[in-house]
Symmetry: C2
Subunit: 187 residues, 2 copies
């Protein structure tokens, strides 16, 4: 079972085969022979900090409509991971952040996503909900809505952040995150 | 000018348009409306270390046939960045490495690639050229063939590594790398 049905170059049907010199099945055009490669996508995001609070965003879109998350989204072609993270923070929370540092890389191999999270200081508190957000607010650790966090990767990001903050030093984390039930995904 | 000609789902022609709620042109199917997203690809690799030497690989494929590089290649679906880096090291140099640490992330926005490099200790010296390599060897800093390194990103990786080693501590680096002339690329 391939990921696509038709060739992106000539529109003919796709077959699955192992190209010469390769070691796994690819989606290959039955007519022109073009080989289609699909690779994990990078999701980039931030933990925006203001004094003892961090900025959370309430989702206005599915999946997880109404749940809380951090600003994050797919890295676009032509962007650095830092620029992508800043853009997502601007789009989802109209927020500007400074002095960004790498915080964590999470491998989510079941859905072919790699999350790359930064933390940084908000430049000001002049933020507001973007078009994909219902609400944006600054939250203290004791007020984090743990039962209403949108995604496991965001919950773990927040846990690691508060763990590091409580010990007074921030590490760079790398972890694999798995779902209990595997999720169907088309790349 | 889009990246593809035909829809991967139904095989109809592609048009470029900005989908509702989006802010940039995508390759959208003129018939079924399927939106095709293209994102940067991750390249993962390693600096394999043996005492005061590191392992270099001489390329048996284009581009840069005959030039020297480090084991590295595209991250595959279903892989963590660490597993991908270990696989590339095994495939290109039949080498096993241990105790890997994150070394650098390089943004190459002109070609929509993100390089993620580790360093680690070779488990043994029982390595040999893989099918995409002409030759594999351990090299001291003074013997690095600087004029015959395959890619700018690999040259910079090596420079940062030896700089860090000479000061006795390894940082985690993040840099943007640009080519002098822009390179055409189809994602």
């Amino acid at each position: 079972m391939g990921l696509i049905n038709f060739c992106t170059q000539c529109g003919s049907e796709i077959k699955q085969e192992i190209p010469q010199g390769d070691d796994r099945e690819r989606d290959v055009c039955s007519k022109c022979g073009f080989i289609h490669y699909f690779n994990p996508r990078l999701v980039v995001g931030t933990i925006p900090i203001w004094e003892d609070r961090i900025l959370l965003v309430r989702r206005a879109i599915e999946p997880c409509y109404g749940k809380w998350t951090l600003p994050a989204g797919y890295l676009e072609n032509g962007e650095s991971v830092l620029d992508g993270a800043l853009r997502e923070t601007r789009e989802e929370a109209h927020a500007r952040i400074e002095n960004l540092k790498s915080f964590a890389l999470f491998n989510m191999t079941q859905i072919n996503q790699i999350y790359y999270m930064f933390y940084g200081q908000l430049s000001d508190t002049d933020f507001k909900a973007g078009s994909e957000s219902l609400e944006v607010k600054l939250v203290r650790e004791k007020d984090i809505p743990w039962d209403d966090i949108a995604f496991k990767v965001i919950r773990i990001t927040l846990e690691r952040f508060f763990e590091d903050r409580s010990k007074g030093s921030f590490d760079y984390h790398m972890e694999d995150i798995f779902f209990e039930r595997s999720i169907k995904y088309r790349s």
